[in-house]
């Protein structure tokens, strides 16, 4: 009998052992997959960063150079406009005053002024963040209203809001182009902010309504019974709890507005042009200046990376919201 007991115990131990083993093996496998996926995703980004640090000849050499001498030429070209001069002219200039003058002179060129990249970049910042703020602000209020109040035709209104996303925005490009021309909104930052807000607000209303629905009404009711007004209750109780949802929504809106290319290409030119239509047309010596394009792209990626990292905890909670109740 004791032998039987011993054998069952040992069987149980083996089983327990194998369970532990298989779960740790599963973890390894999952970890490996994640790492592999991360590497695949990172390849283009690493390529962009590497290209931005190459010299123009290195950037178009074949086979591609993995090991190369880093150069800031791409960044210098991105931020400056240059003109080609004769070698004698360059020699007569005397010693270069700055490191970027030196880089440029190697190519028989002189810097004649800043490029328009910084303006374009600032346009992107103003339009991207402005429209995100507006879309999230309007979305929060609308979502709260839809979530808490009896709105006549609520379902129809919500469907209407959603329906604006049912076709690709570019389908309405020509009407919008004509409309904007008539309204004087073409090539203005305000026009682009309004446009991106209009596109984003549907996403923002729907996402945030989901988050608002998850916040129990009792919280506001408790605050109202305790003497707060509805608006105060909204500020003190609802907003703090919707924070994760608001952060997640803001990131989604920002990514859209920041990346948008088609409308920006069509509706903006000299004045309110954003970075996306500008970067691909950076022309250097003998066609596209790939290091400068890569440098522009690298700098263009930074704000999104920064904000995603900054809000990563909120974002994670935002994505898992609803999975963990109370």
């Amino acid at each position: 009998m004791s032998a039987a007991a011993a054998s069952t115990t040992s069987a149980a131990t083996t089983k327990a052992h194998s369970v532990v083993e298989s779960s740790s093996r599963g973890k390894w496998l999952a970890g490996l997959l994640v790492v592999a996926y991360a590497l695949i995703t990172l390849i283009p980004l690493v390529w962009i960063l590497a290209t931005s640090l190459k010299s123009p000849p290195d950037s178009i050499s074949y086979p591609p150079k993995v090991i190369f001498e880093p150069s800031m030429e791409g960044y210098v070209n991105l931020f400056t406009t240059r003109s080609r001069q004769t070698e004698e002219y360059i020699e007569n200039l005397g010693p270069a005053e700055t490191w970027y003058d030196e880089i440029v002179r190697k190519r028989n060129m002189v810097i004649v002024g800043p490029s328009r990249f910084l303006d374009r970049y600032m346009n992107s910042v103003v339009i991207g963040f402005g429209s995100t703020f507006l879309a999230v602000f309007l979305g929060t209020l609308a979502a709260y209203g839809f979530s808490r109040f009896k709105v006549p035709l609520k379902d129809d209104l919500l469907f209407f809001i959603l329906s604006t996303r049912m076709m690709p925005p570019i389908a309405v490009a020509i009407p919008i182009y004509l409309m904007y021309r008539e309204l004087g909104l073409s090539d203005t930052a305000l026009g682009m902010i309004l446009l991106y807000t209009a596109v984003n607000v549907s996403l923002s209303v729907w996402l945030l309504k989901g988050f608002m629905d998850e916040i129990p009404r009792e919280y506001e009711e408790a605050a109202v019974v305790d003497g707060y007004t509805r608006l105060q209750a909204f500020w003190k109780v609802v907003l703090p709890q919707a924070r994760a949802g608001i952060a997640a929504t803001a990131i989604f809106c920002l990514i859209f507005a920041w990346n948008e290319y088609a409308f920006a290409l069509l509706l903006t030119s000299g004045n309110a042009q954003t970075a996306p239509p500008f970067i691909p047309i950076i022309i250097g010596e003998g066609g596209l200046d790939w290091p400068a394009v890569a440098a522009g792209t690298t700098l263009f990626l930074l704000p999104i990376v920064f904000f995603t990292v900054l809000l990563r905890n909120q974002l994670l909670r935002g994505i898992t919201f609803g999975a963990v109740r109370k």
Partner: protein
């Protein structure tokens, strides 16, 4: 502290009537329990008292003052929600002091009152912890603390123990009762649990289908239910119902049931247009060989000092609570006798209790 008076309160949501023409008064300092199945209108009534819903018609008076159309915050009442509604982004101290901070009290006073309440509820050691990790009992105490700290005129509680497990609920029942004795605030407490209601209430108000059926102390509601619904809802197991035959006149003292004669308290009104239904609590039926009603034992459940015997009779299945000394076996044929003076007579058409010596006795006692 205050008296709450409800007059002809009526509430409809579209076509649905949630509360129909209710009137009652909750006395100052009373522990008033509203009892009924879900959807009976008890919570809607409570929310109207709190100002979270506006009545369709009718008036609400708090301490003699008409507050019908005032916002919740202007009524000086405290509300405890079923799921506690603790703010997850605040710690215990912030949660409890939330109403005081609204009132803009001086910091010192806020701290003192918060700590005093926390000590009373024995959660003073938790004041600076977040509410997320608290046990459900401690969450309940924080929710109560938030209500008590206000020193509001009245406490309204919407199934505050509904989210607790059974064992803990008993403990919290006791704590709530002690808290009530200590604070002596007028309390309106909503529950669907009749045991909770019976053990805590000064008076119970029983509702069903949007209507108030009976208001009275637990003992009266139990012994002299006003309708068949009340009789069936209060008490576990429920009251037994036995159909009588033929009309009865005022002064009758017995009913015919399947050829046997069962004595009842003397009727004070006629019951000629419909038939009588007798209501008898399980403990008011005895097993006796001479019993008027014959039946066969279907099941016996032992419950400590007592046993619950289920008997199949021609008048349906009856439940009898008998002492353990009575020995019966499944399938055995037995006779049943009734404590005649405890029987409630209902009108089969209206389901209302017929006036009889039972009610009269209650009014005297």
């Amino acid at each position: 502290m205050a008296e709450i008076r409800i007059e002809n309160l009526h509430k409809t949501f579209g076509d649905f009537t949630a509360v129909r023409d209710s009137s009652f008064t909750v006395k100052d300092g009373e522990f008033f329990v509203m009892l009924g199945p879900s959807g009976c209108g008890k919570t809607t009534t409570l929310r109207m008292i709190a100002g979270l819903e506006l009545p369709t018609s009718g008036r609400i008076y708090l301490d003699g003052e008409d507050v019908t159309n005032r916002r919740g915050g202007e009524r000086d009442i405290a509300f405890v929600f079923q799921l506690f509604a603790l703010y997850p982004h605040m710690n215990v101290r912030k949660n409890i002091s939330f109403p005081l901070r609204m009132e803009g009290r001086p910091r010192k006073e806020i701290r003192e009152r918060t700590e005093e309440v926390a000590r009373m509820l024995q959660i003073d050691h938790l004041l600076d912890s977040p509410v997320g990790g608290l046990s459900s009992g401690d969450r309940q105490r924080v929710a109560l603390g938030r209500a008590v700290v206000r020193r509001a005129k009245a406490f309204l509680m919407d199934e505050p123990l509904g989210a607790l497990d059974a064992q803990f609920r008993e403990l919290m029942c006791e704590e709530l009762r002690l808290l009530h004795l200590r604070v002596k605030a007028t309390t309106v407490y909503v529950t669907h649990d009749q045991i909770e209601a019976m053990s805590m209430a000064d008076r119970i108000c029983i509702m069903n289908n949007a209507e108030v059926l009976q208001i009275g102390p637990p003992s009266e509601v139990y012994a002299r239910p006003a309708t068949r619904f009340v009789a069936g809802f209060v008490g576990s197991p429920a009251m037994n119902f036995i159909a009588g035959e033929g009309g009865l006149e005022a002064g009758s003292e017995a009913v015919q049931v399947r050829g046997s004669r069962i004595a009842i308290p003397r009727l004070h009104e006629d019951l000629t247009s419909s038939e009588a239904i007798l209501g008898a609590r399980p403990e008011h039926i005895r097993i006796s060989d001479q019993g008027a009603l014959r039946g066969r034992v279907f099941a016996v459940e032992y419950m400590g000092t007592r046993q619950l015997i289920t008997v199949d009779t021609d008048s349906g299945r009856l439940r009898v609570r008998a002492p353990n000394t009575v020995r019966v076996n499944d399938g055995e044929a037995i006779g049943l006798d009734f404590d005649s003076e405890k029987i409630v007579v209902f009108d089969s058409r209206t389901d209302r209790a017929v006036a009889s010596a039972l009610q009269a006795g209650g009014q005297r006692g």
